[in-house]
């Protein structure tokens, strides 16, 4: 059996996978699906900045972001907190703790500037956010 199984690769390629080909068309349709998913980093940063115009906890943000149809954090809230932390470190978000220890996020002046630029022309948007994404 062992000897025979060594030929499995060849044998499956010639039979099972004979008509299983990853085509250019498929790549193209994947690209389309990706751009339709609308979850580029730009969109997410932009959403967070917009949503924190009124201060929110991470928990609230996660809910609203999901309501917008962005599913990236659905099963991974930790990732949202990592992003928020990064944005806070870079001064795009202010934070505030309430008496009960809940942490609130609110857009800073610096964040507003980035957001304003991102809402301008598409080319500018790219610049503004690449700045934010760096590091």
């Amino acid at each position: 059996m062992e000897e025979r199984l060594k030929k499995l690769r060849k044998s499956m390629k010639e039979t099972t996978f004979r008509n299983v080909n990853f085509t250019e068309d498929q790549q193209e349709s994947i690209r389309k699906a990706i751009s339709k998913s609308g979850e580029s980093d730009e969109m997410i940063y932009s959403a967070i900045l917009q949503l924190t115009t009124i201060e929110k906890t991470g928990y609230d943000l996660a809910k609203v972001i999901l309501a917008r149809g962005i599913k990236r954090f659905e099963d991974n809230e930790g990732l949202l907190y990592t992003l928020l932390h990064g944005m806070e470190q870079k001064g795009y978000l202010h934070i505030r703790w309430d008496e009960e220890g809940a942490k609130y996020y609110r857009i800073s002046d610096k964040g507003r500037k980035v957001l304003a630029r991102s809402e301008g022309k598409a080319t500018k948007k790219k610049l503004a956010f690449s700045e934010l994404l760096e590091g």
């Binding site: 499995l8 690769r9 039979t15 080909n21 990853f22 990706i34």
Partner: protein
């Protein structure tokens, strides 16, 4: 090669990166998925989902694992989720996947020989229950080590070794009587 990916991730050009990943791994991912679901159009749909998922989580790729290992974990989990889903368990495919056409460009004689040596083995493997098919496929087709299989499937090495042995017994019964 891995440096290349790390570098591209730093430039944050995810579109470029996903293109490169599809170019390098598209075919093997599609085959891998097919080996789980045994249907071409489902395999194509799932492969699409897998690459979209991969794109969305590119920023979580730490650069520690090889990108292939990382991608395979996503793919294998996705296939298993699909197989566990209501849809896969309840909707019986009416259209049986047509067998690849051997007779098209070969003489009858060649076909018979090939059927004997190649097709039989491949068919027997594809007919194994999923847990045995998986380990046979990854070990003999993809030539991964038990350790690597354990990494991509999250199954313990000892379990895999047992399954591999059992899978070979099953194939032997089937093919050698």
């Amino acid at each position: 090669m891995e440096e290349f990916f790390t570098e591209v991730i730093e430039t944050d050009d995810k579109d470029l990166l996903i293109g490169e990943i599809m170019h390098r791994h598209g075919q093997e991912i599609l085959q891998l998925v097919y080996s789980y679901v045994k249907n071409r159009s489902i395999a194509e749909d799932l492969t699409q989902d897998i690459f979209v998922k991969c794109y969305k989580s590119l920023h979580t790729y730490s650069g520690k694992a090889r990108i292939r290992t990382w991608l395979w974990r996503i793919a294998i989990n996705h296939c298993k989720d699909y197989l566990k889903s209501w849809y896969a368990r309840n909707v019986i495919l009416t259209e049986k996947e047509t067998e690849p056409a051997y007779h098209q460009d070969k003489t009858v004689e060649q076909t018979v020989i090939q059927k004997g040596e190649d097709q039989e083995l491949a068919e027997a493997v594809m007919e194994l229950p999923i847990k045995y098919r998986e380990v046979i496929y990854l070990f003999y087709f993809e030539e991964l080590s038990i350790k690597e299989i354990s990494e991509v499937t999250d199954i313990k090495e000892n379990t895999l070794k047992t399954r591999l042995r059992r899978a070979k017994d099953l194939l032997k019964e089937r093919l050698e009587g």
